[in-house]
Symmetry: C2
Subunit: 406 residues, 2 copies
């Protein structure tokens, strides 16, 4: 992989803040609403998850689709990540153009224009892997890449009944393997899965069993010399059950025989509800866990109108912050000349494209121009609202403007 210092990720520099204001102070100089990442929790989360993976003998390929922020990819790689996971060919190209040279596209590669993007990536020196789950797709990929004299590394996706993509059973797996053997351009580099889609009555047990199935399948194929590399990859894990997958991949009897690869994405900025709850469950499963992930992403916005008692209209909408699966959550109230006030627990009635309806508790007062920070549930759907997110220090000064590349 290209050394991190050669990456063409934009360097730190508040000079770009000029496009949204004239100074560095978030509460004074920056046009709100603005998406804000807190420097210390961000650094903590990156180090925490890297350390968690290492304690399980695993590597990290953080899912980049969460943030699509090259300045964050660079930090994740510098901390020791194996590579970056992406969801689409265009995301892979965006990451590569910002210095990410080892790419795992955790999806089927479909469509000639997308294949052409990947061919360009490979030609330009990227180490690229995608996943396959059908003979049709294997044949299409083989035709495309063989015609160009290129080799394409693919991982077989193992799915679960009622789940998303991936072969469902050994019969389908064998058929797919036969198609891969027939291909001339495709190279099998690992086994891939995604446990986040598992539901049902016993998800914890099912996720553990799924993780074990991924490893068992990998080892079975390894014994039959299905992989080109000496150490093939086994990979899964979203941000909810990363601990279960890490444990399933951490087989003392098999250490050194494969690369266990975890792909959480949301951990990098964590959140205030969905993954905060998942973190509590991780802690319950691991009484000895050191530290935990911290929420690092908030959106700051002004109180815009106070039209009726108990109601504030905030200049913050669906255009600015994710509302799925939960409405934004007020965190802190900032008013000039006053100490910040904790407003967690204040209720949000509804949100429109550009307006949020905030319930003001009896006895509390707001003024037009007050600033409120909001937390989110599921950070992915906040990042994609922004062309840049602002990295701030503890004084709420902007220390870096981080462009997104959606």
């Amino acid at each position: 992989m290209k050394p991190a210092e050669q990456n063409d990720v934009p360097a730190s520099g508040v000079e770009k803040a000029a496009i949204i204001g004239t100074g560095r102070a978030l509460l004074r100089d920056i046009s709100l609403p603005a998406a804000v990442v807190y420097q210390r929790p961000l650094a903590h989360n990156i180090a925490w998850m890297q350390s968690f993976a290492e304690r399980h003998g695993a590597r990290l390929a953080p899912h980049g689709k969460t943030t699509m922020t090259p300045a964050l990819f660079r930090r994740q790689l510098e901390a020791g990540a194996w590579g970056i996971t992406l969801a689409t060919a265009t995301q892979c190209m965006a990451a590569f153009e910002h210095g990410v040279t080892r790419l795992l596209m955790a999806n089927q590669l479909v469509g000639a224009a997308n294949m052409a993007l990947v061919a360009e990536l490979i030609t330009r020196g990227a180490e690229f892997h995608c996943v396959v789950d059908s003979v049709e797709n294997v044949q299409a990929l083989d035709g495309f890449f063989a015609a160009r004299g290129l080799r394409l590394q693919v991982m077989i996706e193992l799915g679960v009944e009622g789940g998303r993509c991936g072969v469902r059973n050994d019969g389908e797996l064998e058929t797919l393997l036969a198609a891969l053997e027939q291909s001339s351009a495709l190279v099998l580099s690992g086994i891939e899965g995604y446990e986040g889609i598992i539901g049902g009555q016993t998800p914890i047990a099912d996720v553990r069993a799924y993780g074990a199935r991924l490893v068992d399948t990998l080892m079975r194929l390894k014994r039959s010399a299905a992989f080109s590399a000496d150490k093939p990859v086994v990979t899964a894990s979203g941000s909810k059950w990363f601990d279960l997958i890490a444990e399933a991949f951490d087989r003392a009897d098999l250490r050194g025989q494969y690369i266990p690869l975890l792909r959480p994405g949301c951990y990098v900025v964590h959140d205030h509800k969905l993954y905060a709850g998942a973190m509590e469950e991780v802690k319950e499963r691991h009484a000895d866990l050191q530290g935990e992930l911290l929420p690092a992403l908030e959106v700051f916005a002004h109180v815009q109108s106070l039209p009726e008692p108990g109601l504030a209209i905030v200049a913050l909408g669906k255009r600015d912050i994710g509302c799925d699966p939960d409405l934004p959550m007020p965190q802190c109230l900032y008013r000039e000349g006053q100490a910040p006030q904790d407003v967690r627990g204040w209720g949000v009635r509804m949100i429109m494209d550009q307006h949020l309806f905030l319930s003001v508790p009896a006895g509390e007062t707001l003024a037009v121009g007050d600033i409120i920070s909001f937390g989110t549930s599921h950070p992915c759907l906040t990042f994609d609202k922004w062309r840049q997110v602002l990295l701030v220090d503890e004084a709420l000064d902007v220390v870096e403007v981080m462009p997104t590349r959606f």
Copy 2:
């Protein structure tokens, strides 16, 4: 206003398609998913709404927040629009930098950094109007703009009880007028409202009454010489009840005394459900209506995996298409060498960040690599997913790449 031909909106040019593919054919050369605007329905909608407004003696200030696409703003202005409505100061700056010189910000202007953006707009020659609904805000604006020797045109927002922003009654209105009289920098240019928030048991009657209240208030203030201009503005209208507002503003006895200004946004590409339904209601209210709005926005995506009978996973997610208030709706299936197939009515089970779960009806077959177009309900939340939308002709060739400026 700056003549349209001087606008620095990017000119038509498929050369930019090179960044996402190597040719012009949507189904062959373009990386999917892609957001697509159909050329003819787009042109039809722009002309239709312009004509509708003119028949009611009204002007149009289409809400630009829907698309934030300068190439569409240009078309709307060229068709005769008075100006463009925006929601935020940064949106106004983006529009101005792409040639829109008459801007109506249909929101309160709050925060020093946002005021500084507007001061820059005014200094650079924009005709800018925003709305006010509180003494606090009037005083903050007056302090900011007076200190810079600038005048700021404002409209008073009239709200409804239980609604969004805006003064609720005559007492609040009088207090606000007194504050405006005290100001030195603020110039009252009109009366503003938004009827889209009206609910309750009798919305049609309530919207009509609200439209009448806006006009009555305007005329009362005009008689008391509250406006600087000879013809002040009265403005309201989203995309649902634009006909009711147009009628309420179309007072034969008052023609020529004010500028009635309609602000629908979604009409420009219309949709497949929310506003399609609203259009049916408009037609029911106006048996003599000529023509109607047509859906002009779809998102095209590949079938990525066919893991189980009856289930297709499409490479289309919440990152690509709006899902609020309704899930995407399949429209047409494209397979190489076959005639396009109408698939309206096929069911969508769920959507994740990057995947859509499509139910395949019994007896129908799909192949990995098939392309399906999807319609939306409420177009605003699809545009904001894209840095560019593709204008296509009837052969599905890309004729223009239109950047968005969110």
